[in-house]
């Protein structure tokens, strides 16, 4: 077996017992890894009655055949569980260094069940896994905890470690991964699943080699392409993911004032260019990544000093900044740092605070509810104070970390009308009124309002991929063919989440699908072609849909919030159209060969080899 160790680590926290399971090579060919293998296990080993915060829920981290190789931007793993935030499939794909360290311990993935009777952490190394007492670090923030964990294990290790938010089962809790760079499995509340198991951290460091089918050919291919990747992503790396916020604000993609406004002069003050010119001290890269889009910032004076930490990326700036109208870059950076320390998803936190600001404006929340905090639009001070309250679960902060859907239901009145989410997940920082593929993907993504499920908006600006039937960038407002366009990109993202390779490898067409398939064959010794490769992605997408179908998801859950479908934003030069979701969904289901209610048909499942589901 090449590209894999062929071993799955199974951990039962109730019994504090670990077992090693051999992975079936046929299963690997069918599902590849990451989201594919994880999705299959999640479907088979949870049921509709599984409590997301109960010991019966699974928590998984699965790598892919690229992980641990020199393929650019491939130091990633996929985390899955039933989501405590949405109640549906929960998943988050994360970079950094944990995936490589973990895979070098000799395992391809880890599946955790049960619940420890006291806080523990797992120390995973070449010799196996150790259950270690975590009582002394329980309650500490993720940065502080990681420093202690590394001192107790190896300074070379990376810690996937929850903060106080995960410990108290906040439904927006993330799992920060702290090594030389900080990255988080942030979406869908997986940190709360970890906390529910009394699992503080998974610390990994290994040194085992990975067998490759054609190592010389792979090395030659990668050497040939690396200069092109570096050149294509040079600007992106220099200014980071938020470099072009001005651009997104001008074309109407940037999220503003809880998705109410179309234009905002404050955007340029919190862009990657502003960061570059003020508080940026260096760039950071995930292992084996030539792009280095990560930011390091330093703030030595002012109300939020000192800060010497990771800087915010685009989605965090869009939600903590744009949605809340906060144009103070340092306040946004502080809110971002606090989210990492408490272990919370910056996207959901920003969306929820924006929702709370609108509730405050409309009188649904009062100063009494906020414990005296003046929760006005644009207040950096209020933003930071609310992040503290959410992280600690203090006062209204506890309700806020239940997510905007639950919070709106609790507040009552008309709050549900301006709680912006799909399937309970707050959207990332891309407006679906600017890109119809984004609207369709927010609606149909398994985890809710997720831009990464299709990563299609760049393909509605300039990107193209002829080998998968996208010969040129598509008009963002074109309805004809939008279903096929979006579905193909969703399938591509699913197989990329199985390999695993970062979305950003596509920037400037640095890495093509042809490259991806060639490298996969060199690593594994397989001989698959592009249609088979895309079929793997389609299989994974449908499998994830079936998981949600079993939980009752159908057409009714695929619509966007009222605001996205009815509020026509205005502003100078703003192109803006309301997505016709009914038509888009009907076209989409038809292309996918799903029923009119959005359920994969038996014929489609059979075609994909998913008959068993």
């Amino acid at each position: 077996m090449f590209g894999y160790h062929g071993k799955l680590l199974r951990v039962d926290l109730t019994q504090q017992r670990a077992e090693v399971e051999d992975l079936d090579p046929k299963l690997l060919e069918k599902y590849v890894g990451g989201a594919g293998i994880g999705g299959k296990i999640l479907y088979e080993e949870t049921t509709p009655s599984t409590d997301p915060l109960g010991p019966e829920n699974l928590l998984m981290a699965v790598t892919g055949p690229y992980t641990g190789t020199a393929v650019p931007s491939s130091s990633r793993h996929h985390m899955m569980a039933r989501s405590p935030l949405t109640g549906f499939l929960g998943e988050s794909n994360v970079g950094g260094s944990w995936a490589v360290h973990f895979k070098k311990t000799g395992f391809d993935g880890i599946v955790i069940t049960g619940k420890s009777d006291h806080p523990v952490y797992l120390w995973i190394h070449d010799g196996g896994v150790e259950f270690r007492d975590a009582r002394t670090i329980w309650g500490k923030d993720s940065y502080e905890s990681a420093a202690i964990l590394k001192s107790e294990t190896s300074e070379k290790a990376t810690a996937a470690v929850i903060g106080p938010a995960g410990e108290r089962l906040a439904r927006v809790a993330s799992i920060p991964h702290i090594g030389n760079i900080v990255r988080a499995a942030a979406r869908t509340g997986l940190g709360a699943v970890m906390g529910s198991k009394n699992l503080k951290a998974m610390v990994a460091y290994g040194t085992k080699d990975l067998p490759l089918a054609e190592p010389d050919a792979l090395q030659k291919a990668l050497r040939a392409i690396l200069p092109h990747v570096r050149k294509a992503t040079e600007t992106f790396g220099k200014y980071g993911t938020s470099g072009g916020i001005d651009n997104y604000e001008k074309i109407g993609n940037f999220p503003i004032k809880n998705w109410r406004e179309g234009r905002w002069a404050g955007a340029s003050k919190i862009s990657g260019v502003a960061m570059h010119d003020t508080i940026l001290t260096g760039r950071k890269a995930c292992m084996h990544c030539p792009i280095a889009c990560g930011r390091h910032i330093k703030v030595t004076e002012g109300p939020y000093a000192p800060m010497d930490c990771e800087g915010p990326e685009y989605e965090s700036i869009g939600t903590l900044g744009g949605l809340c109208l906060v144009d103070d870059l340092v306040a946004v950076a502080k809110a971002n740092e606090l989210c990492n320390r408490y272990g919370m998803d910056t996207i959901s936190v920003g969306g929820i605070i924006a929702f709370a600001m609108e509730a405050y404006e409309k009188g649904v929340l009062t100063k009494k509810d906020t414990d005296g905090i003046e929760l006005g639009w644009g207040s950096g001070k209020a933003l930071v104070e609310m992040v503290h309250k959410m992280g600690k679960g203090e006062g209204i902060g506890s309700l806020m970390t239940e997510g905007s859907k639950r919070m709106a239901e609790c507040l009552g009145r008309n709050a549900i009308e301006f709680a912006i989410h799909v399937k309970g997940l707050e959207p990332s920082a891309h407006d679906p009124r600017r890109f119809f593929s984004q609207a369709l993907s927010y609606g149909t993504a398994a985890r809710g309002a997720c831009h990464n499920a299709s990563w299609s908006h760049p393909y509605e600006l300039s990107l193209y991929m002829p080998e998968i039937g996208i010969p040129e960038a598509q008009d963002p407002y074109r309805i004809e063919g939008k279903a096929e366009f979006t579905a193909k990109l969703q399938d591509l993202m699913c197989v990329m989440d199985a390999l695993i390779i970062c979305r950003f490898s596509q920037v400037g067409k640095a890495v093509t699908v042809t490259n991806q398939v060639d490298w996969l064959n060199m690593i594994t010794g397989w001989e698959i072609d592009i249609p088979e490769y895309m079929k793997v992605g389609e299989r994974i997408f449908n499998l994830k849909r079936m998981y949600n179908t079993r939980l009752g998801v159908s057409r009714k859950d695929d619509f966007l919030p009222y605001r996205f479908m009815t509020l026509d934003r205005t502003g100078e030069d703003l192109t803006n159209q309301l997505p016709p979701m009914g038509r888009l969904l009907s076209d989409y289901y038809s292309y996918r060969k799903w029923s009119e209610d959005g359920i994969p048909t038996p014929e489609k499942l059979k075609e994909l080899g998913l008959d068993e589901f």
Partner: protein, 87 residues
Amino acid sequence: MVIKFFGPFEKLAEREVKIELKEPISTQEMLQMLASRYPGFARYSVTKHDAELSAHVMLIRNGAPLKLADKVEDKDCINILLPVVGG
């Protein structure tokens, strides 16, 4: 035609420039014109593919991005900004 430069492009050129166009030209020709005026734009003027160009620079007219083959004319206002692809 008015061209406005944002972020690092302001350093390569200036804040704003007015260019008189007697007839419409392609976006690529406009980039070549800019390169002859501002050498920092030379690298963009030789780009042949939209995907390649959009990795480094985005040209926006009336809230919509321009492609290399698109025509620009004298009445246009073009914004030149950094691209972004999100997080």
